[in-house]
C-alpha cells in the first residue's frame, strides 16, 4: 500500500505562548514538536507497510523549521518526504491547506492518506476530510484500527462515550487517526543516519499558487480567555499547601 501521512509541526504542549503584535497568532519564538495524533498516523502507516509492503510518504506545509518533523519521520522509517515550504503556508485556512496538498500530490497515486484527527494548535479538525472531498475519495474519522481486506479496508471508528463502530470502505481513502491507536516507536541510530539520504521534495508556494484562493475565514483577534470561575490559589511550601488543602477538604469540601 502506498500511504501519504500529513504531519504538522505545532508549538510544544507546555510552551509558554505570547501573542504576536497584530494579535492574530502567537509569536514564533517557541519550541515546536510534531502534532501528537500525526505521530500515531505515521506509526500506523509504518505498521501497514510492514504488513502489506508499499511506501510511506510524509508531507508537511510550513516554514523551514517544519522540516524537522519530516526528518524525524524519515528516521523512523518513512521512505520519502514532501515539504511545502514557505512562511505563507501557515496563514492558510484548512480549505486552502488541503488544496495545496492536493496540488502537490497530483502526480502521485496513493491508496491511503492519513491525517491526525485534529491539530493541537488551531484544532480545526477538518483538513483530512476537506482533502478527501477535494480528491473525491471516501473518508472515515477518529480511527482506532485499520485492516486491509480484498475489497478495501475495514476501520474502527471511535464514537462518543466509549462506543465504537467498524466501517468497510473502498480504496483509495482518507483516514483521520486518533492518538493511542498504536504504540509509537523511537527512531534508531541507523534510521537517523539513513534519513539523511532519503529524498525530500520541496514544493514552493508558486508551484501550488494557482490551486489555492482567498481564505474563507479570518482570525480577527486572539486573546487569553477571561476566567469565569473564582479560583482560589493555595500558595506556600509543599507542606503548608498540603495543610491548607486538608483544611479545605475538611471545612469547605467536607469530605474528611
Amino acid at each position: 500500500m502506498k500511504i501519504l501521512v500529513c504531519m504538522k509541526q505545532v508549538p510544544q504542549k507546555d510552551a509558554p505562548l505570547k501573542l504576536n503584535e497584530s494579535g492574530t497568532w502567537i509569536r514564533e519564538d517557541v519550541s515546536y514538536e510534531v502534532n501528537e495524533p500525526d505521530a500515531f498516523a505515521l506509526e500506523e502507516s509504518l505498521r501497514q507497510k510492514e504488513k502489506h509492503g508499499g511506501e510511506v510518504v510524509v508531507i508537511t506545509s510550513g516554514p523551514a523549521r517544519a522540516q524537522q518533523v519530516l526528518r524525524e519521520a524519515l528516521a523512523k522509517g518513512a521512505d520519502r518526504a514532501i515539504h511545502l515550504e514557505d512562511n505563507a503556508f501557515v496563514g492558510l485556512d484548512a480549505f486552502n491547506t488541503a488544496r495545496a496538498f492536493a496540488a502537490a500530490i497530483k502526480d502521485e497515486q496513493f491508496d491511503l492518506i492519513f491525517t491526525g484527527l485534529q491539530s493541537d494548535d488551531y484544532g480545526y479538525a477538518q483538513t483530512g476530510v476537506v482533502l478527501a472531498e477535494l480528491l473525491g475519495w471516501p473518508h472515515a474519522t477518529i480511527i482506532m484500527h485499520i485492516e486491509k481486506n480484498d475489497a478495501g479496508i475495514r476501520v474502527k471508528r471511535e464514537l462518543e462515550a466509549g462506543y465504537f463502530q467498524y466501517v468497510d470502505m473502498p480504496l483509495p481513502a482518507v483516514l483521520t487517526i486518533q492518538s493511542g491507536i498504536n504504540k509509537l516507536r523511537y527512531a534508531t541510530l541507523i534510521g537517523i543516519k539513513q534519513a539523511k539520504n532519503k529524498p525530500l521534495r520541496k514544493v514552493t508556494l508558486a508551484e501550488v499558487q494557482s490551486a489555492i484562493g482567498a481564505n474563507l475565514q479570518k482570525i480577527e483577534r486572539l486573546y487569553v480567555p477571561q476566567k469565569t470561575k473564582n479560583t482560589e490559589f493555595l500558595e506556600g511550601p509543599p507542606a503548608e499547601v498540603a495543610k491548607k488543602l486538608v483544611d479545605k477538604l475538611r471545612n469547605e469540601v467536607r469530605v474528611l
Binding site: 505562548l17 462518543e160 466509549g162 468497510d168 470502505m169 479570518k218 486573546y223 479560583t231
Partner: protein
C-alpha cells in the same frame, strides 16, 4: 424575505442529543440578535417524530430531511442530503453541535459547497454587522474570534456545554413541520458501517464515585501512579485518569474520564498533572469541587478549578497523603 438560521439537530438511538438542544439555544440567541428567522432540521430515515419534538420550541419551522439511505449514518449520505436541502432552502447560517458525527461530515459538506465551517465554537459576538465566532485554540490556552470571509451559507459548530439546554425557549404554538424527501443516487454512499458497539464490559463504574483522584501525563511514569493511588486510598476515593494514561495502558480504559470515557460528578475531583483539554473537562466539570495540581500556572484546568495549586505534584502529593491520614486519624 429575511435571512435564515438553520439548526441541524442530531438524534441517536431514538433520542435528540443534549448538545442539539444547546445548539437550538445558541440559534435562538443569534436569531434574537440578528433578527433572522430560525429554523431547524432533523436528518435521517423516519425522523418526523423528532421533528415534531423540536417543533415545540420557539422556531419558525422544522424540516424532516428524509431518505432511506440516511440510515445508518454515513458522511456521504449526510453531506449529499444537506447539500441538496440547502440548494432549495438557502440559509445564511447553519449551526450544528460539534459531535463526532458532525465533525465527520460537516467539512465534506462545506467543501462540496465551496464554503467553510468554523468549528468547535464556544460562543459568538456581534461586532456591528459582523458576526464573530469564538473558539478555543492551543488546547484552551487561548481563544480567538473568527469571522467568515466567504459567501453564505456559513457553517458553525458549537462545543458541548457552550450553551445551556435548559434555556431553550418553548414556542407559543408548535412550529410547522415539513418533510423534505431527498434523492441520494446509488453509488453515492461508499462506506458500509457495521453495528455500533461498546468495548468489553466496564468493570469500574465511576459515575457514582464521591471522591475521584485523577492523574494525567504529569505523572510521567507508570510507577508513579502509585502515589496517586495512595492519595486516593487515604481519601477513600477512586483513581481515574486522562486519556493518554489509559492509551499507554498505565490504567485500564474504564478509568478514563472525558468525552470518549466516563462522565462523572463526584463531590471532589482532584486532578494531578492534567492540563484540562476540553475533551477531558466535559467528563468532570460537573464535579461539585475541583482541585487541580499543575506545575503550569497557565494550564486550562485552572479555569474550572475551585482550588488550585501551582507546583510539582511530586512535591505536593506526599505531604498531602500524610496530612489526609492525620486528619482521618483525628489528630
Amino acid at each position: 424575505m429575511s435571512d435564515t438560521i438553520l439548526v441541524v439537530v442530531e438524534q441517536r438511538e431514538g433520542k435528540l442529543s443534549r448538545v442539539s438542544w444547546e445548539t437550538i439555544t445558541a440559534g435562538q440567541a443569534l436569531a434574537a440578535d440578528t433578527g433572522w428567522t430560525l429554523e431547524a432540521a432533523v436528518v435521517g430515515s423516519g425522523v418526523a417524530g423528532f421533528a415534531g419534538e423540536v417543533a415545540g420550541k420557539k422556531l419558525a419551522k422544522v424540516y424532516a430531511i428524509e431518505s432511506p439511505k440516511l440510515e445508518p449514518y454515513t458522511p456521504d449520505a449526510f453531506a449529499a442530503a444537506l447539500k441538496q436541502f440547502l440548494s432549495s432552502h438557502p440559509a445564511k447560517l447553519v449551526l450544528m453541535p460539534h459531535t463526532y458525527q458532525v465533525r465527520d461530515f460537516i467539512p465534506k459538506l462545506a467543501t462540496a459547497m465551496g464554503r467553510t465551517a468554523i468549528s468547535d465554537c464556544i460562543g459568538y459576538k456581534k461586532d456591528g454587522d459582523k458576526l464573530l465566532f469564538t473558539r478555543q485554540m492551543f488546547q484552551g490556552k487561548l481563544a480567538a474570534d473568527v469571522s467568515f470571509t466567504s459567501d453564505a451559507p456559513w457553517f458553525v459548530t458549537f462545543q458541548n456545554g457552550a450553551y445551556r439546554a435548559d434555556k431553550v425557549e418553548a414556542g407559543a404554538s408548535a412550529a410547522p413541520v415539513e418533510t423534505v424527501n431527498v434523492e441520494i443516487a446509488d453509488g453515492v454512499v461508499r462506506n458500509k458501517p457495521q453495528e455500533v458497539f461498546k468495548e468489553a464490559k466496564q468493570a469500574v463504574d465511576l459515575t457514582q464515585a464521591e471522591i475521584i483522584v485523577a492523574v494525567g501525563r504529569g505523572i510521567k511514569e507508570q510507577k508513579n501512579i502509585d502515589i496517586a493511588k495512595q492519595l486516593a486510598d487515604a481519601l477513600g476515593g477512586d483513581l481515574a485518569a486522562s486519556r493518554p494514561i489509559c492509551d499507554s495502558g498505565w490504567l485500564p480504559m474504564d478509568r478514563q474520564i472525558g468525552s470518549s470515557g466516563q462522565t462523572v460528578a463526584p463531590k471532589l475531583y482532584l486532578a494531578l498533572g492534567i492540563s484540562g483539554a476540553i475533551q477531558h473537562i466535559v467528563g468532570m466539570k460537573g464535579a461539585r469541587t475541583i482541585i487541580a495540581v499543575n506545575k503550569d500556572a497557565e494550564a486550562p484546568i485552572f479555569e474550572i478549578a475551585d482550588f488550585a495549586v501551582v507546583g510539582n505534584l511530586f512535591d505536593i502529593v506526599p505531604p498531602l497523603i500524610e496530612e489526609v491520614k492525620k486528619a482521618k486519624a483525628g489528630t
